[in-house]
């Protein structure tokens, strides 16, 4: 697994309907109306925000690789698979990301585990003084609270946590290499973690590919320990990691006003925001709520008409639909396409 293979998969989903940068925005988890809509349209939620800090240059490099090896081509502005590419997609391993649920926060989860393991590892040896491997204050405070009133110096306690961790790793279904990477990123009194460079030298492959393996490994581990009686302690470590509201804060604010009965124009005035921003919020709301009242905005007949046209043309491209339904705004078309995703599946 590497960036190119993930991109190839994403491109196969958006086949021919999106430009070059759509993938970048998706992987970085850009919270704009367009990206959020794409996530839903094309069923690529698992990849949302898996690489929040992805550099544009790294991204372009991965795209160039795919272009050079003839797996994708650029058709006008749009990117699509070649025949060779489609074949290759079939051979891709299955991905287990859950980007939509974690959005980069899996690293906080790992930070907590790393500090927890380090603390227990030193305390079980009776060493009370060490340099915390995690500098993040929030993580330090979280772990400190977590360990309050626990039998810290009891070696049995450390062992119990270790066993729980091993069990969870086994049960997660992650690959051997992922378990190895996970264990090698842990520090304690008897061993220090390895850097990405060191792991790359040892295991071969680039650091970016290893990081992706690691992120997927955390995305597999988290659901196993969340709310599980089997992993009581790790469950606590995972507290608050999964996104609990899929709406952005700003969209949440808009939703409250909407629920109070304000019109979009009135919300824009109250919030001193551009109309287009409020439109993005409404799309976000529709995306996250199956019962969202789309008929507040467009009539039932029009909805049906647009959906069947989209199926007939075999496209979700707004530009083409706009040509067919000139009276509808882009916003209304997006809303329909978002809300009626079910129908289309």
């Amino acid at each position: 697994m590497n960036l190119s293979s993930i991109l190839l998969f994403v491109i196969s989903k958006m086949n021919g309907q999106r430009t070059l940068n759509a993938g970048l925005h998706l992987l970085r988890g850009k919270k704009s109306g367009q990206t959020l809509t794409d996530v839903e349209y094309f069923n690529v939620k698992p990849f949302f925000a898996i690489l929040p800090k992805l550099e544009e240059s790294t991204y372009s490099q991965a795209i160039d690789e795919l272009l050079d090896s003839g797996l994708i081509i650029q058709d006008e502005k749009f990117i699509k698979l070649t025949e060779e590419g489609s074949k290759r997609v079939e051979e891709l391993p299955e991905f287990h990301f859950r980007g939509w649920d974690y959005r980069g926060r899996e690293m906080i989860f790992f930070g907590r585990i790393a500090l927890l393991v380090q603390t227990l590892s030193f305390l079980r040896e009776g060493e009370f003084s060490f340099n915390p491997i995690q500098k993040d204050r929030d993580i330090q405070i979280f772990v400190k609270r977590l360990l309050e009133r626990q039998p810290l110096t009891d070696p049995g306690f450390a062992k119990r946590i270790g066993d729980e961790l091993k069990m969870a790793l086994l049960k997660s279904g992650m690959s051997e290499i992922q378990k190895y990477i996970f264990a090698c990123r842990l520090t304690g009194s008897t061993a220090t973690a390895k850097t990405w460079d060191q792991l790359a030298a040892e295991l071969g492959g680039g650091t970016d590919a290893l990081r992706l393996q690691f992120i997927e490994c955390l995305h597999r581990l988290l659901p196993i320990v969340e709310d599980s009686d089997e992993f009581p302690f790790l469950g606590k470590v995972a507290f608050g990691i999964k996104v609990n509201s899929y709406l952005t804060d700003s969209a949440m604010h808009t939703k409250r006003l909407f629920d109070q009965g304000h019109s979009m124009a009135s919300i824009a005035t109250i919030r001193k925001l551009k109309m287009s921003t409020i439109e993005d919020h409404v799309i976000e709301m529709a995306m996250n709520d199956k019962r969202f009242p789309v008929t507040h905005f467009v009539s039932e007949e029009l909805i049906q008409a647009v959906v069947s046209k989209s199926q007939e043309l075999g496209t979700k491209r707004l530009k083409l639909l706009k040509d067919e339904f000139d009276t509808l705004s882009y916003f209304e078309l997006r809303l329909i396409m978002t809300a009626c995703k079910e129908v289309d599946n």
Binding site: I161, T192, A193
Partner: protein, 478 residues
């Protein structure tokens, strides 16, 4: 008061290090004190001991959040539990909790911007303070790029009547900085306690070469033949990475360290170095603060540091255990230009200053304006402060002077390297010290013949045992 007994009973040390006892006595006499002590000489004892015998709490103001947390942590590790570090990055609830019981803490570390928070300063006025300490006090000086405008607020806070004595701590201070410290902190007839910056166990060598390939070759050979642990300072991230790779190819346990690496990897590298898994670090000047490793045997400079003070500070990370250590600086004639370029690129240029000034005037936010004017972060910090206080023309003049000053400092550094005089004595005279006795292993100018220890390299068995994932976890947790 029998200070030696307290030292032994409460801190477990047999004797004071030079300067400590004097500073402590001045403070117990309620005198304002400026203490100039080299890094690693035990500055914290200078307030910990008085703090533990006086009634009330000690307030310690520290410029860098990471530094102060590191210090608070080390105090806790050494058994002093009544320590707290407060800064505006703490979550609100945590801050409230600490504020509610502020008087229960003996040592309160804060960042300067806390003082401008109404609720906090009110609270502070109600508790009893035995001592106020300002760490890295040179940050008050507008002449340095370490300048922290926040430090000027400390002066306002210290106007309080009947305030406790004040201790200003710093590792470097020339006359100008000393005056600023006294003036802005409104210190009353402070006693200046200086300790020699000389580190007799460190020997200095200058190695002249003609190209960076020659530097690389010298470093490779040196590292292969001589003892570690050691730090190699390079001028850029790229060069640090390049050197690390060259050395790795020779089978040396080495990693590069710079701000371009992700935070987790930086912590890991630091820990590996402390634990002895790594023998060498190739670093930019980002490495060193808060790294407490006593047995560093060598510091090598692949480039020319911008000032003598910076050079002495980096070199001073070697040999804290008192055992012999070696500092080597590789120099080629084009280095001066390279360093000058780096220094100047950090300074805002006249057009940039004018541009920024205009945009702020037109109502742009400082953030976007500084981006548009392509200012560096330090440049912006200093400029923002100046703009509150001075006209544009005055600011330009100040920056012009600052720039001249920087060039002058670099020139002095070049002098130190090329002047052909004893390096130790020249560096000390820069800080206004007269040379005392020279150690036998002094510097490459005085002649270094006897450095046998450097070549007594023990072959370490490589502990490259490979564990599986579950063995690793068992290793750590049982």
């Amino acid at each position: 008061m029998d200070l030696n007994r307290i030292l032994l009973e409460r801190f477990g040390y047999e004797s004071f290090r030079p300067g400590q006892e004097e500073v402590i006595r001045h403070l117990l006499d309620k005198r304002d004190t400026i203490a100039i002590l080299p890094t690693g000489m035990g500055k914290s004892l200078c307030y910990q001991l008085p703090g533990s015998v006086l009634e009330g709490s000690v307030l310690i103001i520290s410029p860098l959040v990471s530094l102060m947390e590191d210090q608070a942590m080390r105090m806790r590790q050494n058994g002093e539990k009544r320590v707290v570090a407060l800064n505006s990055f703490l979550p609100y609830s945590e801050r409230q909790r600490i504020m509610g019981q502020l008087q229960n803490y003996k040592f309160i570390f804060i960042s300067p911007e806390m003082l401008s928070q109404e609720a906090f300063s009110r609270k502070l006025n109600r508790i009893r303070l035995s001592l106020v300490v300002i760490d890295e006090a040179h940050c008050i000086s507008q002449w340095g790029f370490d300048f922290r405008p926040d430090y000027l607020r400390i002066g306002d806070f210290l106007k309080l009547k009947g305030r406790p004595p004040l201790l200003a701590l710093t590792a470097t201070a020339d006359e100008k900085v000393l005056n600023d410290i006294q003036h802005y902190f409104k210190m009353e007839k402070p006693i200046v306690q200086r300790h020699s910056l000389d580190r007799p166990n460190i020997s200095y060598s200058i190695v002249e070469v003609h190209s960076s390939q020659e530097k690389t070759a010298w470093i490779k050979e040196r590292v292969a033949q001589t003892v570690g642990p050691g730090i190699i300072y390079a001028s850029s991230r790229k060069r640090a990475d390049e050197l690390a790779i060259e050395l790795q190819l020779e089978g040396i346990a080495v990693q590069s360290y710079h701000a371009g690496k992700e935070q987790d990897d930086r912590s890991i590298i630091q820990e590996q170095f402390l634990m002895g898994d790594l023998e060498w670090i190739c670093a930019t000047n980002a490495f060193g603060m808060g790294v407490h490793k006593d047995d560093i045997r060598q510091v090598i400079h692949d480039h020319l540091p911008p000032t003598i003070a910076a050079y002495i500070q980096e070199v001073g990370r070697a040999g804290r255990d008192g055992q012999p250590a070696a500092a080597s600086l590789l120099y080629m004639p084009t280095d001066e230009q390279t360093s000058s370029f780096i220094i100047q690129s950090d300074m805002p240029r006249e057009e940039e200053i004018r541009h920024y000034h205009r945009m702020i005037g037109e109502g742009h936010s400082p953030g976007s304006a500084s981006e548009l004017a392509s200012l560096t972060e330090t440049g912006k910090r200093v400029l923002d402060y100046y703009m509150e206080h001075y006209s544009l023309e005055e600011i330009l003049l100040k920056f012009h002077r600052l720039s001249t000053e920087k060039n002058e400092q670099l020139r002095q550094m070049v002098q130190l390297v090329t002047g052909g005089l004893c390096i130790r004595q020249r560096a000390l005279s820069y800080f206004g010290e007269m040379g005392g006795t020279k150690p036998v292993e002094c510097c490459s100018i005085c002649g270094l013949e006897t450095v046998k220890w450097l070549y007594e390299k023990s072959i370490k068995p490589s502990a490259a045992e490979k564990f599986s994932w579950d063995e690793r976890i068992t290793n750590l947790l049982g």
